[in-house]
Symmetry: C2
Subunit: 159 residues, 2 copies
DNA sequence: CCCAAGATTGACGTTTACGTAAGCGTTGAC
DNA sequence: GTCAACGCTTACGTAAACGTCAATCTTGGG
């Protein structure tokens, strides 16, 4: 169990894929793009502990919406400079830029939601006048919500 | 000026482009995809008042994040059915689905922002220890602060 | 020895919404 | 007459992040 922390521990491509729910194709793609550089044992890739950390950073970057090339820049910064202050500052800057961009995106989404809700209200009003029977009801929403709850549904359906 | 409302008024491709800040290429593309069907005067496209409305709907759909094919479905619904109740119901459904998707996206963004802010805080702390001179200054923070206050800010700003 | 499983390297396919010419016709201004 | 401004069609290019073969290799099992 604690083996994960032992630096000499290595990983196969599939182990990392399973652990992080990625595909071999993706890891090779990241390698193509210069984000990873696993060792080789013959032809086979051998991922070190450090490679695993890099992969985590890559996936984290993706979660916050950085592009692969942006992630590569950041990874490169960590590699190039041993001391680590200047590149930390640049990473910080990058992160803040991304945060600002995300906040902008959230605003866009909010605006879209406003437009959508207005449209929904208009439609609901007209439908209520013309064909109230076609108005989706609360019950329909419950189903949607239930559907989201994945496997729990089976229990309910089973009964 | 009021000519815009006169049904017999027609528009050239460029007029609509200017009005809605689109490109001719885009309008032709929409046509290719079956979203528009302007009349022809020889080879030239002649957009009617109705075409203009359709274009508005297209752009509105884009603003809320619908794909062109989704928009086309909705437009088709409006065309097919003369009465207009069933398709209104379906549009309503579509809009609600999109609204749900957008809310999900907003959640994702919020999570990403949380991750980013944690990363920023860690970096700031380390930088403060190692090289405080590299720390970006208050001016850069304004946006961040504004974002943080977002909501409960009014009281504080009032003072 | 033979077969299936899993790894590897190309290399092309996918999707979306256009951008960007290339080549050609028409019209109005000068 | 000729140049610029528009308009048209056809068609290839783009970006992102892989998916999806295809062909080859190795290796453990039976």
């Amino acid at each position: 169990m604690a083996d994960l922390r032992r630096p000499e521990r290595t990983f196969t491509i599939r182990q990392l894929c399973n652990e992080f729910k990625a595909t071999p194709r993706a890891l090779r793609f990241y390698e193509d793009k210069g984000l990873l550089n696993p060792a080789r044992e013959g032809l086979n890739r051998v991922y070190s502990h450090k490679d695993r950390v890099r992969l985590q950073l890559i996936l984290r970057g993706k979660r916050v919406g950085l592009s692969l090339s942006e992630i590569r820049e950041l990874l490169d910064l960590y590699d190039e400079n041993d001391e680590g202050a200047a590149q930390m500052a640049r990473s910080l800057k990058k992160f803040r830029e991304r945060a600002n961009a995300l906040e902008q995106q959230r605003e866009d989404i909010d605006n879209a939601l406003i437009e959508l809700r207005e449209a929904c209200n208009r439609l609901e009003k007209r439908l209520a006048e013309i064909r109230p029977d076609l108005l989706p009801r609360a019950a329909d929403y419950e189903q949607v919500l239930r559907a989201r709850l994945d496997g729990h549904a089976e229990a309910m359906l089973g009964k």
